[in-house]
Amino acid sequence: MKEGFRQSMAWLHTWSGLLVGWVLFMVFAAGTASYFKDEITFWMKPELHAVAQNAVPPVKAVESAVAYLQQRAADSPRWFINLPNERQPSTDVLYLAPPAPAGAAAAVTGAKPGEKPRRRFDRASLDPATGEAVSAPRVTRGGEFFYRLHFDLHYMPALWARWIVGFCAMFMLVAIFSGIVTHKRIFKDFFTFRPKKGQRSWLDAHNVTAVLALPYHLMITYTGLVTLMFMYMPWGPQVAYKDRGGEQAFFSEAFPGGGRDQIKASGNRVPLAPIAPMMAQASAHWGGAAVGRVTVHQPNDANAVVSLTRAEGPQLSYDQPSMQFNGATGALIGAFGDVPKPAAETRGVLYGLHIGRFGDPLLRALFFLSGLAGCLMVATGLLMWAVKERQKFAKTLKRGGRVSFGLRLVDGLNLGAIAGLPVAMAAFFWANRLLPVDVAERGEAEIRWFFIVWGATAVLGLLRPTLRMWQAQLALGALLFAGLPVLNAFTGPAPLTVSLRTGPTSVAGFDLVVIALGLGLAGAAWIVERKRRKSIAKQAAAKTQPPPSTLATSGQGS
């Protein structure tokens, strides 16, 4: 490529990073928020803050959920019951809509992909104690929105989105590998920070945020690809199982006892056996660990199978052992995943590392900080490209000329992505509290506000990519974030004064984190202000030919 190996890798690092940087910034930001998606969702349902959360025994929660499902979906082909835990107080049930009555039996069993539209899942959140649908809280997508956004994007088919995000993640992996190679003095650079030195400072900031959390960046990128690896790279299983029923056979062999098994209905109605004894047996088998999810295949059929999956615990792996029971007789069919297979367990651990659900709040806070470092790494990298490129136009700018279209585009996109996204995220939370509770399609309405605000910041950024605009958007983001606890105090029962003393702790945590984020953004706005003053002073000093029209293009200097 260029002269030497290191130079060509530097080139690769620059361009692979720039081309996907804006998407990556969003993926990083939304993914970082997702570490606390349950807490975010809880904050966004202030109706639940005042209710004392008494723990309900899991057996009781399952029984009430089964009663709910028997009423509404007795002939559904599959139920999923997610039991409450300390982060997530409600029982969440999910069930496949019962098949169409015409040729029902064939429709249940012959589910060939691509032949008919995907079957719909119905979902509900239940009060674990009563088994009634929780209707008190407002409708919101909550933290789930950020979680989905970071790999499914929005307003487009999830499949395309996952390919786009996977493509960007692959670029990121290449950027990380080539970035490491580019570094002659990776260890020394880590202790180097030369502030107020223009491009050098950006480079140092990029190095510090990248190297400080390098294991995390590498881990999160690779494991992100691993979470969707069978979609991106289905060839291994496809080739190996070509003559054995294809990928489906691979999945049931690799993940036995999981929810992926296809179980056919016999057509004979038999009442579902009670689940409580199965739970007791499973819990005893796992040394007292709780059951986290109950899957019922073909409930109320003679072929019914009940699959119990262990609750998430401190184990790294995402794959949990499971036990299967005959749903008609209650007899044990088998236990799966007690002895992990090396490669499958490797994947499970990589997957588990990505979602970080094994950790206690402190560890997840460290993941959160590393994720923020990732955002800063991407942001400083993007800005550095613009700073370097701008130097090429130093003479042109002095003569009152304009920068290239490419630089202007990057400047605008940087502004909209880096400064605009926090504004949009904060706006999402404001919409959650300010939109009327009974507005139609409320969840989607909040999301619309997120995109309206983000779109507005991006358009403004592209129209006027100036320091003034950076400052305005950063300051707006700071205000909106720091104002969230105030908003919470006026629109919910648990302001900081209450939540810090008597809980709920997750609400207090949310409020404190958004204050910190607001302060961080305010600090960034302040840095921009200093830079703006300096560049104005410089222009006044170099009073050779200052046509006023250059102010707009001279923004965002080094």
């Binding site: 490529m1 190996f5 060509s8 890798m9 080139w11 690769l12 692979s16 692959m170 992996l173 290449v174 590998f177 080539s178 190679v181 690779y222 690809l225 691993v226 690896m229 069978f230 991106y232 790279m233 060839w235 291994g236 299983p237 496809q238 080739v239 190996a240 199982y241 070509k242 003559d243 054995r244 691979f250 062999e253 690799a254 297979k341 090396p342 490669a343 499958a344 490797t346 994947r347 990589l350």
Partner: protein
């Protein structure tokens, strides 16, 4: 000017080689590992398929780096072909033998 055009064409050609060629190499190695690990080491079929898939992303990244490190675009392409050809041959062979044995 012609140097500029040549340079750009070279970059475009490398980009195609990196994205599609790199994916091809990664896919081929995933498939070959899935078949040859059970044949060579007696690894379970599902484990081998999993190992191949897990490794393929690192292989992809190294292929991309090779493409951009090579001195010329032609060398980059030929490097990919030199790796891909034996992999493809091995895959065909393995598919025939394991298909017959099973």
């Amino acid at each position: 000017m012609t140097i500029g055009v040549r340079y750009r064409l070279g970059v475009a050609s490398r980009a195609v080689a990196a994205i599609f060629g790199g994916y091809g190499i990664a896919a081929l190695s995933a498939a070959v590992l899935a078949l040859c690990l059970p044949a060579a080491f007696g690894m379970a079929r599902s484990e081998a398929a999993m190992t191949g898939t897990l490794a393929s992303f690192a292989i992809f990244a190294f292929a991309v780096m090779w493409v951009f490190a090579a001195r010329t675009a032609l060398r980059a392409w030929s490097g990919l072909v030199i790796v891909a050809a034996p992999l493809a041959a091995l895959l065909l062979l393995l598919m025939r033998t394991t298909g017959g044995a099973a």
